[in-house]
Amino acid sequence: MRVVLAEDLYLLREGLKQLLSAHGFSVVAAVDNGPDLLRALLDERPDVAVVDVRLPPTQTDEGLQAALAARRELPGLPVLVLSQHVERLYARELLADGTGGVGYLLKDRVFNAEQFVDAVRRVAAGGTAMDPDVIAKLFAQSDQKVGRLTPREREVLELMAEGRSNAAIGQRLFLSESAVGKHTASIFGKLGLAASDDDNRRVLAVLAFLDGR
């Protein structure tokens, strides 16, 4: 799987390169600034891009802007955005086109290599990977909306919003996949969301619902 990597800190860039290579990805370009990133994304058309929000030369949200610009050119281009902080504002912008294939994680998440690589694979496959911090912020304001869910259902919903499949949720909560399926159906019924067999579309619907969009 071909990856474009954008990160301005040398140590972190090299670390990510090694991590991804060790897990069978081939890093076709590793850049350290916004303009180079946009060029690499459009030229290489990678299977997935791992991008730091803040990049030189301006040290503003150049990575995010380049990723969004590339996705306007190549709709659905899978992008996993990494940052030292997570903002609902940015999550919203990444999700806005409704096509999926986006991820938004804190840089800390690379500590757990297995989960991080899983997130990269999920995004590359057109799925979604939202940081638990973003989901926590969404839940903090959705008390009324999710008030009728049982604690177990809330747990399932949180993991679903992060972008995990039923199988992964089951593994995480020590439930069978069919039990998770039952919870999911109940959650969708209570929230009045249209059920969907497609995992990605289901995640996007849940996120849109929680974000109040």
Partner: protein
Amino acid sequence: MTRGLGALARGLLRGGYAVASAVLLVVHLVLFVPGLGLGIIFLLPWPMAQLRRITNLVRRSCGDIPTPYRDRPGPPEREADGRYRHDRRLYRTPFWPRQYRYLNWVLGDAATWRDTGWMLLNPVVGGVLGAGPAALVVGGLAVATEAGQRAVYWIPVGLALIALGVVVAPAALRAHDSWTRRMLGPRAEVGSLKAWLGSRFFTLLRLAALGGMTVVTVGLAVLSAAVLALFAVGVVGAVPENAALTRRVTAIRRRLAEQWSGVPIQTPYRPEPALPDRRPDGLYAVGAHLYKSSGWTRFFQRLDWIWHDPATWRDLLWTVTDPFVGGALVLASAGAVGYGLIEVAIPALLRLARAEDPPALAFLADRPALALVAGVVLVVAGALAAPAALHWHGRWSAVLLAPTARARLSMRVEQLTESRADATSAQAAELRRIERDLHDGAQGRLVAVGLALGAIEALIDTDPAAARRLVADARESTARALAELRDLVRGVRPPVLAERGLVEAIRALALDSPVPATVAGALAGRAPEPVESAVYFAVSEALVNAAKHAAASTVAIAFTHAGGVLTAVVEDDGRGGADPAVGSGLRGMRHRLSAFDGTVRVVSPAGGPTTVTLEVPCALFSPKTSTSSGRDSSNS
């Protein structure tokens, strides 16, 4: 010279307009006779509409005066039954409704009648102002050339006339255009005669009240003289009291100058000093003198403060001079009206009406008709002069009652010293907080990680299971340290603020706010970083207050930048009643912004809503990023 000649030529063109308006006048008169006399009113609007062609031409050439007319009505619309309606009648064809609409459009427009007034007066006024200077030149030429036949001394007279024509030409041109603007320009507000008289009347009343105050001032001057005389013989006690009284009177005068004359005057006095600290020997020092009791200390301190404030002496000078200058301004306006009415016009009128035992006339007792004219002229002149007199009265007050440039500077220095002290102490507190957070948080965690790594090194061969547990601990510690650093950074310089500037940062803040908040407005660029940061934290404070204290259910935040001032308004729908004097949050906000000469205004009546307005003077810079596209993709 060339200016004068150019003005002469343009004046001649305007003389041409005078001729055109005279011709139009004749056409109107010809059509008015059948129009009004025989009742063929449809003859009337046409020449009036034609008049507009000429007046529009005049407007264009006399300094681009905007047209005042209403828009022309559209064609009549067909009713459902196929007929056309005008007022409360239906017609089969649109002809009559169209005629009526046209008639209403032309005759119902006040501008039409002002055009007509212009047409009546312009042949004379416009002619004189426009072609007058040219006529002077031509006349001068005629006199000078004819002079040879009569007497030589006519030559300079002719030349003088020519010079006069050239010299007055620009002024006449300006006068012509301003007269045209007055007649043909759009009327800013419909000023009725009644409103005009009313405003004059109030202006005169205010002048009369100021005249009354001048009498008080005379008393004050006498009192001050007495107090100074007492001081000269060693009785100093009355000086501070007298100054306090004077300051009270001048304070009223400053307020009236602002409210009535539109001349804001700052208070010039130095701030009253606080009681000094006791010396080690228990005495208070005021200058070179030492006092035992705080009462005496306070008294002499007050005396010293008042005596050495230049504003005290300027006040005194004012009490002496105001009766003359201010008094003269009042006499020239309100005085003239009162005198003209009571002493001249009314007695003359009574005399003319042959009333029994008429009151004495101030002058022209044997020519009451002339006296009546003189009285009316006095009243009108006084009324006309009133607004200017009121304005100059305020300007005069500012001469002595406003702080001198030096006093203003020293006040500014004081204010800057205070805000600098605020800013530096706020900064120091901030650094202290950061240091403490780092010390207690991230630093400690990193030490723990280092210790764990050391232990792992020792255990990795002997007890791999324990080493693995320690690795997990170390990872946990780094995650915690990162989370704490993240929170710290958020409090120092929020990431979105650094990345996208003020408005987007507040948008991000509003998304995380427990109270639904909307953010409106956009800034054309980025404010200086410290200003952005100060405004960000002030708005965030206001947002927290709205959620915590006001129990608001929605908050609206709006940003604007106009006239070099960045304004942020935070309005909630909560219960109000916030007292800016009590809340430490509001005080903090004020301190934060005062370093940039910014202000915080809180309007919070009991029952709500609360509006917090932050204003900071600052310039905007073009944003550093070139990629601004995609910003609008957030659909909130």
